[in-house]
Symmetry: D2
Subunit: 258 residues, 4 copies
């Protein structure tokens, strides 16, 4: 790998970084200026400069230009919509044993945030089959997946999953829907022997119904858990957990097809 710094190019998506609290994700284009409350940034003028460069706004603020990556996009999608949090997304993906080559059914598509994480990790040879009944959600998710160049690994379906899952012998099924317990028989039909199902639900009542349905359908290794994330303020002599905390996102149920 060369030590030459990467240069900012037209069409790049870059982070304009102010501080820990504030940064923007922008597309670098000729003739384009980016408006912030700290003044205008001349994006065209950045082309050809090395990443890491600092740029001054018309109001005299200094911004740092950093290359964007997948996580930047994911965080922004997640911030805009009511979706599964990163911590849960990461563990769901692990518990579903999702990896390059996996064939995964997801329901529902929602904003496409979880879809995109699954797609990233089944690429290049696997597939995500994602079901959604609301057309506008699917359209928005498609836009998100296109921006992330993940559409080759995703098959988007505008279909009510309670009417049936088209795929068979899939490696994993991931559920983020209001009534997962109603489709457990269909999940069983879609999964290969030993395949994994992982479901995410906000209420404990959903967990109870899902676990009972999984047990009734003969699934094994049925488990229910939740992840609580605690963030910290770290500084010598002032280190402590942050006082405002997300107290709950949802519960994760995982099981294995038998």
């Amino acid at each position: 790998m060369s030590g030459d710094p990467k240069l900012i190019a037209e069409g790049d998506e870059a982070i304009l970084y102010v501080n820990e609290k504030k940064s923007w994700l922008v597309r670098i284009e000729g003739g384009k200026k980016f408006h912030t409350h700290r003044g205008l940034v001349d994006l065209e003028g950045l082309i050809g400069k090395p990443y890491g460069t600092e740029v001054r706004t018309t109001l005299g603020s200094t911004l740092r230009v950093i290359p964007s990556d997948y996580l930047d996009h994911l965080e922004r999608i997640m911030r805009r919509t009511q979706v599964i949090y990163p911590k849960d997304t990461a563990l769901i993906t692990m518990l579903a044993n999702v990896k390059p080559g996996s064939r995964v059914v997801e329901c529902g598509t929602g904003s496409g945030a979880l879809t995109s994480y699954l797609a990233t990790h089944v690429a290049p040879t696997g597939r995500v089959y994602t079901y959604e009944v609301r057309e506008e959600f699917q359209a928005n998710a498609r836009k998100n997946l296109e921006k992330l160049r993940l559409t080759p690994y995703v098959e988007m379906k505008l279909k009510d999953i309670t009417t049936g899952i088209d795929e068979t012998e899939v490696d994993a099924v991931v559920l983020d829907m209001a009534t997962p317990w109603m489709i457990i028989d269909k999940v069983k039909g879609a999964l290969r022997m030993g395949g994994r199902v992982v479901s995410f639900s906000p209420t404990i009542n959903q967990v109870e119904k899902t676990v009972e349905a999984l047990n009734a359908a003969g699934f094994v290794n049925v488990k229910a858990l939740e992840l609580i994330m605690r963030t910290y303020k770290v500084k010598y002599n002032e280190t402590r957990p942050d006082m405002v905390m997300v107290g709950h996102t949802g519960y994760i149920v995982s099981a294995r097809r038998y």
Copy 2:
């Protein structure tokens, strides 16, 4: 995908499942019997039967035969050694933005459990460069990676990382070592602009030193957090969190190279 059930073949690694608490991971071989406290299992006799079949031990217990997957192996490696827990492994991988094609430096190799998860997710085009100073740890990790067929994606290095990181312009550095703060300058040298570093430490004092070192070296988006996993007993009219809980595994610090 065919609906024909997958057949048990010689050389397969399969799960012999008793119940939620007890199962074994075995290699199916001709002429081999597997000894359990519930009696012997004739593994050769399983060859050619479909997965999902039930087999009786010589003492009359019934076991179910389920295909094994990567997660089965990972859980077993993790159970044997003092390693990072699954919940942390999954989030570290996300926070390091590890995906197919990523070039990742890891220190130390340890049991190879985290290495294997990283390798799984950089495959097929990415690489994990993993540093370890203790030869016997490296040897054991190599065995684990070979069993998982992940060695093509891993470069194992028997080297003290405090003497320097050989790679440059890598996408991510993942640290699971006692004194991460001592090598932050070398981490900075190895990372590309905008690359991610994620460090895992059991004590809050390590977190303080690591965060201060990252701030001093000009890293941005420096964050510290921990994940607390709560498992549940789920049954109508008896649902509650489990009483015995892992109260702490470690803290995660993440930051971005500037």
Copy 3:
């Protein structure tokens, strides 16, 4: 207050302290020896010595003699029986607004641990009316309360509370029973306007039923919560939460009579 040290007297109950993990609560009596796996202690020989003195066992161990207090006894009662934990006991007492002079109904008595904490805090002018249906539990609780000299503040009732609460216009009702929702009407009849009810239950299903019953009966300020206690190992450069943790004790529901 004199600075003269308090002397060990016959009949005292004292703590023999070895270390953070090990100590005993003993009654000082003439002619008595206390057997430990670290050898015998001559309790008679302690009489007249100041508290804080060190005593050697026949096997050469050194024990420190410390005066016992109410908390020592409470901790020992709680350790022996399946009871409400100290953290919950303290908050239940606060949420029930229990203080000197309060008249409190408790159901059930159980080991008497919570009874004793309530009695301590209503003394000297208040009363705890405690209901229990199992005679042997009541007998054991009575022994505990006598040892703590709290019987003057407690009226023990061998009665099924579902058949009725004898008291009226009480300040608080504290429930530690399997089916609190079945007696909410009787709780309402017993409480004065504005009085407090606090219920402790291990399962979330009990919480749901209790909250619904309280709402249905017109109670106000109905709240449900749980306390999670995290203990720490504290030492420079090794500070972290303990790894083994009590993940769950129970939920607390509180409300106010209207």
Copy 4:
């Protein structure tokens, strides 16, 4: 106890209750009207009516009149000022073994919220000796204690505790100050053998210094912990922890004088 309902009297402090989110604590006085954004309430007109009565505001809202108790006042003091939370107050009081007759030193007085809880539980024969260096804090705390009629049980001291503790042979010392580790020797001098010290601190660094100072001074049973309170939304089919949570209040260190 008579079943006659308690009547609203001049001079009473009563709760005007709208709903779970909104209520006021008011003093009932002849000729007084209480202004709310829901209209005026004629407080004089309430005199002589039974508690539990409903009153209409001039704008047509209905309020319920409930007798106030100590907890109402405590919650209001706590809401106004940056103080120790109820959950911590309750456990600190337990861990300090505070009960009727206890002699307790407190530093600092602050808003007087913790002082008032300690005073409530040492009454009628015990005493709280509370130290504060900021005159305006002491004045405000005095007002709070007077309103609660707790001044007979409290001795308020305008004094820097680092210059010395006047009392000796006290049963407990409770610390809510920035640098508890600096006065541990004085705490030892004030406590009787076997007495309890409990300290509350927001940062882990304070905990480390306090624990080390307690160990160095020969205290026993040195423990550090924190309480995490999780509140719930409870409703059939919608039960889950609240999403916004207080992630951290502070750590509690407790130990025993030897």
